[in-house]
Point group: C2
Chain length 248, copies 2
């Protein structure tokens, strides 16, 4: 997408110098496999806002990154000396400064409703991370947890999208975790999750297919095999942040 | 305060009937000792918005409550058939429908900054709940955790309030947990936390004194001995939600 510059640029390490940011430009500090940062990528894509992406090593954090975000997490955006982080705060900030492309509805109740949906769907991320690390002792509880989260997601889907007829705020915020849930059977083949999504969640399955057709999702999504390779490297304590980057 | 009706009304149980809500009125479903519900109380008080309060038993949850909020948590507000929950969502909704008394600033960056402060100060609530339940095994780690959270809070306080010269959104959202941290030495005398706040955190100590002078805090705050009695009852699995209510 023409509005992204550097979405797949090489990840910067502590020894790398931070390129200067031109006045008026917006920069996104990103990690290519972080679902929270992906929320910001989806938002920039959906709003078609021009952005320069800096990919950051989150295990060995550059000093210049911690100076900008003391929590050391992604996403962070920088804009005329202003620093904004936390994925939901970044999304609202982008809507506030570019109101013409606001993803959040203007109506107070509909706005609140989108945020409540995100809260109710957040059980998916908890369940995903639980299963990612599940041991023989707790994998049964983890699978039950995921089923419960997906049951909720299935029941809350009453239209094409969580945003209604078109995709909205809740869709942008929940998608990155659903993308990873879909890949979980490949990341953890030992858990035998293959059929989990397909048969029990017809609405959610159709929703995932629908989401994959959205231009913003096409920008942000990573191939399943890259997710698998990333998590394999992550487990070793040395995540490979540059998986899938092809030499220029 | 004249705008509150029923802030200290008797807590309703599953067998109690829910009184009808008049059209145009706003109702807050509350639990008198819940810090998240207290955020909403502070917000209604600060904005001087008229509200009817229903106190709800959160151990034995009334069916009518779960129908309104499937998560069964407080605060929830009800307003002309609309249901809004999650404390931060409730606060923004109240600002959206009563913009003249908006607590959140209009400027996008200042808005974002208030929300980032809440995120950074949220370590206080985690540390508080950790110490509330601390055992001999983990109390040292719990105390270190609280100190770290308070160090951050001390360093982030660069003016009279987190909102700046006057109290703001971040103050309303962080206060309920600070109120409880101050009472922690009485709830858990075995942890010897008495001098924790007084000596190491001069800015925070002055801030707490300043907060207690605000009209909205005077409405929402509970006496230390009521917090202690509540937590003593909570530990038994039978929380006494009606501590401090005097017969009409």
């Amino acid at each position: 997408m023409a509005n992204f510059h550097g979405l797949n640029s090489i990840t910067l390490n502590p020894d790398d110098e931070l390129p200067p940011l031109a006045s008026g430009k917006i920069r996104l500090y990103n990690m290519r496999f972080c679902p929270y940062a992906e929320r910001a990528v989806l938002y920039f894509a959906k709003k078609n806002v021009s952005v320069e992406v800096i990919n950051v090593n989150l295990v060995d954090k550059p000093k210049w990154y911690l100076e900008r975000n003391p929590l050391g997490k992604v996403p962070t955006i920088e804009h005329d000396g202003k620093i904004i982080y936390e994925s939901a705060v970044v999304a609202e900030y982008l809507d506030d400064i570019f109101p013409d492309s606001s993803v959040l509805p203007k109506d107070p109740y509909l706005r609140a409703h989108q945020k409540i949906l995100v809260e109710r769907l957040s059980a998916i991320s908890g369940a995903f991370y639980g299963l990612l690390r599940a041991t023989a002792d707790n994998q049964e509880a983890g699978i039950a947890n995921l089923k419960k989260a997906l049951d909720t997601a299935e029941s809350l889907l009453t239209d094409n999208f969580y945003g209604g007829k078109s995709s909205g705020y809740a869709d942008m915020l929940v998608w990155p975790h659903l993308e990873r849930v879909e890949v979980l059977p490949l990341i953890r083949p030992d858990l035998h999750l293959d059929k989990l999504l397909g048969t029990d969640y017809p609405k959610l399955t159709a929703y995932i297919a629908r989401m994959k057709e959205l231009p913003e999702v096409k920008v942000a999504i990573r191939p399943a095999e890259h997710h698998v390779q990333f998590f394999d490297s992550y487990k070793t304590g040395k995540p490979d942040y540059n998986i899938g980057i092809t030499a220029a």
